[in-house]
């Protein structure tokens, strides 16, 4: 039997995907602002973030209403509680985009340095993870989400390498320390984007499989937390 509640859940899912699309755009733009030293793109990021903030508020209100009025159970309940967390993760990703745009603004005002390709690569990895986390959410794909969680280690490793390389560069060229610190912060923000994409993937596993896998909770022999 088709339920009216399904229509409301579908509308919520659409709104989260819309927020996801905005969030992905904001990270992409901020990275592009760094790569192309484009202050206009950075300004766009600041503007776009308010849309994301508003969506987070709307989604939270929608979730609370649905929890109160529809008394969801099982999969529906997991979907709603996970949606609250996912929208919060997306909002924080937006904030990291804003931080990166801030780095871009400060870098633009200083002489150009050749950007390490690793930072761009780190950015592409983070954006790909976010995009795939949203795909997994769309398709309730627990398997895909689990694979994504494992990729977070690669991002962390690359971030550590960038950090080490940039520290070396600072020793070699103290003149450029200010700019190199900005890059370290960019890399740090991109790594956080990947972390939050991982959180989203963990929530997708919770929706699809009723298992909590964050903090390696899934490794313990306890039964699944929710049915």
């Amino acid at each position: 039997m088709e339920r009216h509640f399904d229509t409301e859940l579908a509308a919520l899912r659409e709104q989260i995907l819309l927020m996801g699309a905005h969030t992905e755009n904001i990270v992409r733009k901020s990275l592009s602002a760094i790569v192309n030293r484009d202050p206009n793109l950075a300004q766009e990021v600041f503007r776009d973030d308010s849309t994301i903030d508003q969506l987070e508020v709307d989604i939270e209100e929608r979730c609370v209403n649905l929890l109160a009025l529809r008394q969801p159970m099982a999969m529906d309940l997991r979907f709603l509680t996970a949606s609250l967390k996912i929208s919060n993760d997306l909002e924080r990703i937006g904030d990291h985009g804003v931080n990166i745009a801030g780095n871009a603004m400060r870098l633009v005002s200083q002489p150009r340095l050749r950007l390490p390709v690793e930072i761009e690569r780190l950015g592409e990895m983070a954006i790909a993870m976010l995009s795939e986390a949203l795909d997994a959410f769309t398709h309730r794909d627990g398997t895909g989400a689990r694979a994504l969680v494992r990729r977070d280690d690669e991002v962390d490793a690359l971030n550590r390498r960038i950090f080490t390389d940039l520290m070396t560069s600072m020793r070699d060229d103290p003149e450029s320390i200010t700019r190199l610190v900005e890059w370290i912060m960019v890399a740090r923000n991109l790594e956080r984007v990947a972390d939050l994409a991982t959180n989203i993937a963990e929530e997708v596993v919770f929706i699809a499989e009723a298992r909590i896998i964050k903090h390696h909770a899934d490794d313990s022999p306890r039964p699944a937390a929710a049915g």
Binding site: M19, A21, H22, E24, N25, R28, L55, L69, T138
Partner: protein
């Protein structure tokens, strides 16, 4: 199921597409500035303010006020069952009346089509307006009134007749004799009540052979056949199992596209699920009346909060 449709697609990678989507995203903004109807500033006592948000946070213009009570009181002999109730029932919406046993919710419901007239010693004060006409005026033709304001009861009450004859009973009473018309109206009503596919081949069988849930949908079909404007429902699912109750609930949400529904229910969760507006009654008084979303997430009155959170009642 909710998750299987393709998402917003790859176009979302394009920054422009997200910007284009922004107007859609901002639609729910309206929810943040609900339309509030201003209460009257001077006596008679102000009407409750009714915010008009639906469950999912979209503000909708409520329909016209089809039924209104003004300072409506009802007495069973010396006992006052309703005290100066003021409520507006909006067209094409589900209005739920909740409250503990004996709070007067069924009495109020039955007042809407003058079912209380049948009870000896009932006296009323104030007005009930249906399309702005006083229901209690002596000239009101009660039979005609009950055709326009139908009722479905707690226990399914099919007549000991065939399924078909049950559905067309009201039409026959109104003098419809044309077989083709009766059949067409029966089919339409059974489709609207979600029963058609289950009974289309057994219309001549006794209605008493149907399950409880089917009998209740048959009673709804019988009510729909005379094309009422308002359907009053008194605990329509309390005698049914959960699956049959869910079917009735889904049915009500379909029917509200065409009909105005007022439902009395003991089941608060049901009121939350199916209604657009909720009235909370206590000791014969209307304590709070507002959009269901408001009542169940942020009621204005402490007594409402205590009741819906299970602190009393």
């Amino acid at each position: 199921m909710a998750f299987e449709e393709p998402m917003v697609a790859e176009e979302t990678l394009d920054p422009r597409s997200a910007r284009q989507r922004t107007p859609a995203a901002s639609q729910p903004d309206a929810a943040l500035t609900p339309r509030i109807e201003m209460a009257a500033p001077i006596p008679p006592p102000p009407l409750p303010e009714v915010s008009t948000e639906t469950a999912v946070g979209v503000t909708e213009q409520p329909g016209r006020k089809i039924l209104r009570t003004r300072q409506f009181s009802l007495f069973y002999g010396d006992n006052q069952a309703l005290t100066r109730v003021e409520i507006d029932v909006f067209e094409r919406a589900v209005t739920a009346i909740i409250g503990p046993s004996g709070c007067g919710k069924s009495t109020l419901l039955r007042s809407f089509n003058r079912m209380n007239d049948l009870i000896h010693g009932v006296r009323t004060e104030g007005e009930i307006l249906f399309h702005e006409q006083d229901l209690r005026a002596l000239s009101t033709d009660v039979v005609a009134l009950r055709r326009r304001i139908g009722m479905v009861f707690q226990r399914p009450n099919p007549f000991p007749k065939s399924i078909f004859e049950n559905v067309v009973f009201g039409l026959r009473m109104l003098g419809v004799t044309d077989r083709a018309e009766l059949e067409a109206r029966a089919e339409q009503s059974l489709k609207q009540s979600g029963l058609w596919r289950e009974v289309r081949d057994t219309l001549k069988r006794s209605a008493l052979d149907l399950s409880g849930g089917q009998q209740q949908r048959l009673c709804i079909a019988r009510c729909l056949a005379v094309e009422p404007e308002v359907i009053l429902m008194d605990e329509p699912t309390s005698a049914l199992d959960p699956a049959a109750s869910s079917r009735i609930e889904e049915l009500l949400m379909d029917l509200k596209k065409r009909y105005t529904i007022v439902v009395v229910t003991h089941n608060m969760q049901q009121a939350a699920r199916i209604s657009d507006f909720t009235a909370f009654m206590l000791n014969g008084e209307l304590i709070e009346y507002d959009a269901t979303r408001k009542i169940f997430t942020n009621p204005r009155v402490r007594a409402t909060e205590d009741y819906i959170t299970g602190r009393f009642g």
